[in-house]
């Protein structure tokens, strides 16, 4: 599924015939390798992104999305994956946060949830996510602002389309960007 074909055609023609040993032999014989990391293609923008159906309410097009669950006593912020469900979550019901908060549903609770969520997302290697449309209001804005402040990108890039030879433009290749 994640196979990658070697572009060895050109190099093979000019191969110098000499004694091959160890790693050199290994790379000459290798034509296909597999990256089993399930999050790799999402990072490279090649993976499928669900687009939802025509009559669906919009909002299905994401790999990771931030949801907020409001309860009377506490608030939970959750980053969900479209297949695997909740991945990272922060709640003001957690003792770790509750211990230092005055109230678990007020504005400063939202701000602190944002800070902790940003930290956990960056630690989990999720730096881009969509935001649920239900996150409106002053408190939610505070949370979102805090995420932005802590280097989380609040949109996801578009899926890369490999161009056919007759297509007009050649988009930039995501696997050649090394920051």
């Amino acid at each position: 599924m994640y196979s990658v074909n070697a572009r060895a055609g050109i190099t093979r023609a000019f191969r110098v015939h000499r004694e091959l040993h160890g790693n050199t032999e290994l790379i000459e014989t290798c034509t296909e390798i597999v990256n089993r990391n399930p999050r790799n293609l999402e990072r490279l923008r090649i993976a499928r992104k669900p687009s939802g159906y025509h009559l669906n309410k919009p909002g299905h097009m994401y790999w990771h999305k931030l949801f907020l669950i409001k309860k009377l006593r506490y608030v939970t912020a959750e980053v969900r994956h479209f297949e695997n469900g909740p991945v990272v979550s922060v709640s003001s019901a957690e003792w770790a946060l509750k211990k230092q908060l005055y109230r678990t549903t007020d504005s400063s609770a939202y701000i602190n949830i944002g800070r902790v969520l940003a930290q956990r997302c960056l630690e989990a290697g999720i730096c881009e996510m969509q935001i649920d449309a239900a996150l409106t209001g002053n408190k939610c804005e505070l949370l979102i602002k805090e995420l932005e402040k802590n280097n989380i990108i609040l949109t996801e890039p578009q899926v890369y389309q490999y161009p056919n030879s007759w297509d007009r433009y050649r988009p930039e290749k995501p696997w050649e960007i090394h920051e």
């Binding site: 089993r36 230092q100 161009p163 696997w175």
Partner: protein, 401 residues
């Protein structure tokens, strides 16, 4: 039924050429009876609980009853409620929690289950142990020291560049004296021999307590080596607790071990062999991709060419060629069925015709379309010339996309 009858009669009674609106025909079962796509997908992906269950091979989670936890917290909660300063800072939105203590408390209570969830998301257990998993009950503290005095920590899936991880990291964890541990760093991604193999990057066995230096270094540290073009590979640290000292001499490699074939590794086979003596307890992993510093490492240390790969995209669907393609521009239509190599060759020959052997190619025109050709040109050719001059479509194939 009536629709079918109408169709039957239509051919006899309705004159030819007359437009007829037939009633709409439903395909499949009516919506009240038919299953939805969600139900169908659920049925397709349903797992058999007798076969597809996962086994916990690590330590069980210590469950603390809610009552015993809250009784300890109550006094703190009451003290906080009566704290006027805290209330003031909270109301003015200036209350900022200390992230360090939050993390410490989180590691004690939810840390292992959250780490487990993220590891599952990254497919760590599936690729290392197949149908088994473990709870990372021992938090691992791994940090790389870079040359410019930066400390880069390994958490659960954060990105670390190979240049930053060139030297062995410092690993600490809470361990009592008299216990024995072993640490393995491996990657299941991008193995050059076989897709089922992993590479063992680091293996230290029989570590007394958390003093890594005193442990037996069986396989020396190798920095992350993600080949060019395959993207991000996972590098996974697993900490095992040993019941007693184990003889790992079969895994011993001469230092430095730079032959990649010798580093081939299978965690599942290793674990199966020592499952009575080893219990996985700690987990941390990071992702790493290609970096320019790797080029030198491949040439000088591993003594090999840089492996360059590209993703195998599915071929585009092209309709079967017909004798009389209607409403199709003939040149674009015919190009689709020609050998792409031949097209590329034509473009290359045309390009080389204009290249001077000593002066090189012509400088690019500033206004590529402002050079009229005097004679008559058919419109399809005009369009081809425009495409060529502006660098659209097939011309780009020359630059090896």
């Amino acid at each position: 039924m009536s629709v079918k009858l109408l169709r039957c009669l239509a051919s006899d009674f309705i004159p030819k050429g007359q437009h007829v609106r037939h009633g709409h025909r439903m395909r499949g079962k009516p919506p009240t009876i038919a299953r939805t796509l969600k139900q169908r997908l659920e049925e397709l992906n349903r797992e058999d609980p007798t076969l597809d269950f996962k086994v916990n091979i690590g330590y069980p989670m210590t469950k603390i009853s809610r009552r015993s936890m809250i009784s300890g917290w109550m006094n703190e909660i009451i003290a906080r409620r009566n704290n006027a300063e805290l209330e003031k800072s909270s109301r003015t939105r200036k209350l900022l929690v200390d992230l360090k203590t939050v993390k410490e408390n989180w590691l004690q209570i939810d840390g292992s289950s959250h780490t487990h969830r993220i590891a599952k998301h990254y497919g760590v257990y599936n690729d290392l142990y197949g149908d088994a998993y473990f709870m990372p009950v021992v938090p691992l503290n791994i940090s790389y020291d870079t040359e410019d005095d930066k400390l880069i920590k390994v958490y659960t899936g954060n990105v670390i560049k190979p240049g930053e991880a060139s030297k062995a990291p410092d690993v600490t964890y809470d361990a009592e004296d008299g216990t024995l541990w072993s640490l393995i760093m491996s990657t299941p991604d991008g193995n050059l021999t076989s897709a089922d193999n992993e590479y063992c990057h680091w293996f230290i066995g029989n570590i007394p307590g958390n003093r890594l230096k005193e442990g037996e270094e069986l396989v020396d540290y190798l920095q992350p080596i993600a080949p060019y073009g395959i993207g991000y590979c996972r590098y996974i640290f697993v900490l095992y607790k040993q019941n007693h000292s184990i003889d790992f001499s079969e895994y011993k490699k001469t230092k430095p071990c730079l032959n990649l074939k010798e580093r081939n590794w299978r965690t599942l086979d290793f674990y199966r062999k020592y499952q009575d003596q080893l219990t996985p307890a700690g987990l941390a992993f990071f992702q790493s991709d290609w970096d320019h510093s790797l080029k030198e490492f491949y040439y000088n240390m591993l003594k090999m060419r840089v492996p360059i790969f590209r993703y195998d995209f599915p071929k585009p669907y092209i309709k079967k060629q017909t004798w009389f393609p209607l409403k199709q521009p003939f040149n674009i239509y015919l190009d689709k069925y020609r050998d792409p190599k031949q097209i590329r060759k034509e473009f290359l020959l045309r390009k080389l015709k204009k290249v001077h052997p000593f002066d090189g190619p012509e400088p690019p025109r500033r206004f590529p379309l402002a050079h009229p050709d005097g004679k008559y040109i058919p419109s399809w050719l005009k369009f081809e010339i425009i495409k060529k001059r502006r660098g659209y479509s097939h011309v780009n194939d020359l630059n090896e996309y």
